[in-house]
């Protein structure tokens, strides 16, 4: 139980680190990294909860996290393609809006 609790707590903190990174940085690649870290935090809570009881862990959350990892790579690839397109079209790696605010 205590081990499960440690990893649950780590998962929550990972999610929050990711949320912070997503909001605090303007660079698109950093935002994508942050979203990935948020996802890892969610997976960690899932797996930690699946293994919180003694005995063999629950296979259903494992299968769902597997699905989650694949969906994560799918959204990461589309987000990166969009970021590359934005960088190539506008010569900057962040969204407009931030620029105007800083000026």
């Amino acid at each position: 139980m205590s081990v499960s609790l440690v990893y649950t707590a780590a998962g929550i903190i990972l999610f929050l680190l990711g949320t912070y990174g997503l909001v605090a940085y303007a660079h698109l690649l950093r935002k994508i990294l942050a979203a990935n870290i948020m996802g890892s935090g969610v997976f960690m809570v899932f797996i930690a909860v699946a293994g919180r009881t003694p005995g063999a862990p629950d296979p259903v959350p494992h299968a769902m996290v597997l699905t989650g990892i694949v969906v994560t790579v799918a959204f990461t690839s589309v987000a990166l393609a969009l970021a590359v397109r934005i960088a190539r079209t506008s010569n900057r790696a962040h969204l407009p809006g931030r620029d105007e605010e800083q000026r």
């Binding site: 780590a10 990294l33 005995g55 990166l80 790696a93």
Partner: protein, 327 residues
């Protein structure tokens, strides 16, 4: 191992994971951030092993660290060649983000710990239920049974998501070379000669293993994709007559084979994704083989990052012996 040492490991591993995630988010050099993220994913795989989730660990190492790492490195090179290396952090958002995540921390931790108390504490969760019905699923490994039979619709839609991702990427841009020329080197050629068959073999092995042990279509597909990328980086290219319709057909083959297997159920008076008894094993295996091929192609297409423009990924070399000229 003594409980004390194991506890030390259980405190050290999450601490290192959190530190890597933090450094990856805050380090000023993006290349470093990406490398730290890959290290984070690899250690995350170790955490999955520790939490007795070997299937997830395999997928994390292959897809989370491997494919995502390749995606990030390729995208970083392209972004920096277009937008330069300058960073654009905005400090005024940071305090807001800190307050936001600080508040969320308290709320999330309280809510989650509260809901953990409310969860039923039957040992193994749905594990015993899965074990009871394992014989009906056609495979012997619980996670594969859940993925391709009990919760097959999750996996079907997941492959649909992957396919949509590939289509979106192809709509966004044409593939542009991210290396000025392929990594020609005699050592790499020799390495490929040994490694490509091994990657093909171990991909097939992982796929076969999936029916009774950790492994399966997604892990096998990422190994296959690694092989394809290795070949492409070393200058291999898809013949022109293959990069049109045949490539697109192979890309969608897995999804539609799965869909066809799924509607056998309704056609024979069962529910969607209910395979006819005695046909489960061959159907699951066939679907897994085709899925592996399609997913590998989709992952490769995602790293290349654009629709194929012609027969070659690289501009044709100006002279046949670029290697010799440079040395």
């Amino acid at each position: 191992m003594t409980p004390g040492l194991l506890l030390l490991f259980d405190l050290l591993l999450p601490a290192v994971l959190l530190w890597l995630a933090w450094r990856s988010l805050t380090s000023s050099d993006l290349f470093r951030a990406v490398i730290l993220f890959i290290a984070f994913s690899l250690l995350l795989a170790l955490a999955w092993v520790r939490m007795e989730a070997p299937d997830v660990a395999l997928a994390e190492a292959a897809i989370g660290a491997g494919v995502t790492g390749a995606l990030l490195l390729v995208a970083l090179a392209r972004i920096e060649s277009a937008a330069g290396r300058r960073l654009s952090p905005s400090a005024r958002w940071r305090s807001a983000a800190l307050v936001l995540t600080g508040t969320a921390l308290l709320a999330a931790a309280a809510g989650l710990l509260w809901s953990l108390r409310l969860l039923p504490t039957m040992p193994g969760g749905l594990g015993p239920l899965v074990d009871r019905h394992l014989a009906e699923s056609g495979v012997d490994h619980p996670v594969t049974a859940v993925l391709l039979n009990f919760r097959g619709y999750d996996t079907l839609l997941e492959v649909g998501v992957l396919l949509l991702a590939a289509i979106a990427i192809w709509c966004l841009d044409e593939a542009v070379p991210f290396l000025q020329q392929p990594l020609e080197s005699q050592l790499l050629t020799g390495f490929n000669r040994m490694m490509l068959p091994i990657l093909l073999l171990s991909s097939g092995y992982l796929l076969w293993l999936g029916s009774h042990a950790p492994g399966g279509a997604f892990q096998a597909a990422s190994l296959l994709a690694a092989g394809m990328l290795l070949a492409l980086f070393s200058g291999a290219s898809l013949p022109a007559q293959w990069s049109g319709l045949p490539l697109r057909l192979l890309l969608v083959l897995g999804f539609f084979a799965f869909l066809a297997a799924a509607i056998i159920g309704p056609l024979t008076g069962r529910a969607l994704l209910h395979y006819p008894p005695a046909w489960e094993k061959p159907l699951i295996l066939l679907v897994e083989w085709l899925l592996t091929l399609s997913i590998a192609l989709i992952l490769t297409a995602a790293v290349i990052g654009g629709r194929p423009t012609g027969s070659r990924l690289y501009p044709p070399p100006s002279s046949p012996s670029a290697e010799g000229r440079r040395q």
